[in-house]
């Protein structure tokens, strides 16, 4: 990450891409929580490796970001070490490009003893580019 990239993220952004695929595809960041704690905010800055051949963010990377952000939020909402994605539906609404700061707002719709229902809106400067809905199994 170069300096100009670092400066565009809030100082308290936490890098959550420590290992494996998350690290290979990232880095992805968790932003400070809002007062409403049933959810979370996440961000990444678009790098050359994140693109498709016409210079837009690759759909696979956007689904990866959604899954990373929503899985992390499910674990936090459930207070457990591990949650597994059971289903995920993603609509690609609009494009994003190199250097964009992409932010996901994740909301927990409902948490039961065994499941977490969530939605996420992914945007660049308030312009929504992707929406996701999914179901996570706790543990």
């Amino acid at each position: 990450m170069n300096q100009s990239t670092a400066q565009r993220l809030p100082a308290d952004a936490e890098n959550i891409s420590a290992v494996g695929y998350n690290r290979h595809a990232g880095p992805f960041y968790r932003l400070a929580k809002d007062a409403d704690d049933l959810g979370g905010r996440f961000a990444f800055i678009v790098q050359p490796k994140h693109l498709n051949n016409v210079g837009n963010i690759h759909g696979g990377l956007l689904m990866t970001f959604a899954d990373v952000a929503m899985s992390r939020t499910a674990r936090l909402a459930a207070g457990v070490e591990s949650c597994n994605t059971v289903s995920l539906t993603v609509d690609f609404v609009g494009p994003g490009e190199l250097g964009d700061l992409v932010v996901a707002q994740v909301r927990v719709t409902r948490r039961t003893r065994t499941l977490v229902f969530q939605t996420a809106s992914i945007a660049i400067d308030e312009r929504v580019i992707t929406v996701a809905t999914g179901l996570w199994k706790i543990g």
């Binding site: 695929y21 690759h58 696979g60 994605t85 995920l88």
Partner: protein, 136 residues
């Protein structure tokens, strides 16, 4: 990577930087009956050694996108929607395979699904919708 190449498969020519970054992907078979494969390596898994959902979805986008490309004799298209259900985990070293199925093609849209399997067992299911560029 030759030693990791599954039998009968040839490496797919990927052009998207993100797919090249997470690939390679392999393919075999003729038009309309192609299979695609991904060998799970240490770049694809989480800390428990299980393939990441995001990697599954990226492989799905690549494989079903290749199917869209084949079905249209190489017309460019973009992913509009993808729905996935994750039935079980795949782990390091597994070979994930899919034979994409073109469910319907209209003037502007392609409906494509795929069952992604490891040794014959379904690991995840995907339904997808693609928009042909230049068609309103």
């Amino acid at each position: 990577m030759a030693m990791n190449m599954p039998e009968g498969y040839l490496e797919t020519r990927l052009i998207d930087p993100f797919e090249i970054h997470v690939g390679p992907v392999y393919e075999k078979g003729g038009k309309g009956a192609k299979r695609y494969a991904l060998r799970v390596d240490d770049r694809h898994v989480n800390r428990r050694g299980v393939v990441h959902g995001g990697m599954c979805l990226t492989f799905a986008d690549a494989a079903l996108g290749q199917a869209a490309w084949d079905a249209t004799d190489h017309a460019p298209s973009v992913t509009l929607n993808m729905q996935a259900q994750f039935l079980r985990g795949a782990v390091l070293g597994d070979l994930i395979q899919v034979k994409p199925e073109l469910v319907r093609q209209t003037r502007a849209l392609l409906f494509i699904r795929g069952d992604f399997t490891v040794q014959g067992e379904t690991v995840f299911l995907v339904q997808s919708l693609w928009k042909l560029l230049g068609e309103s």
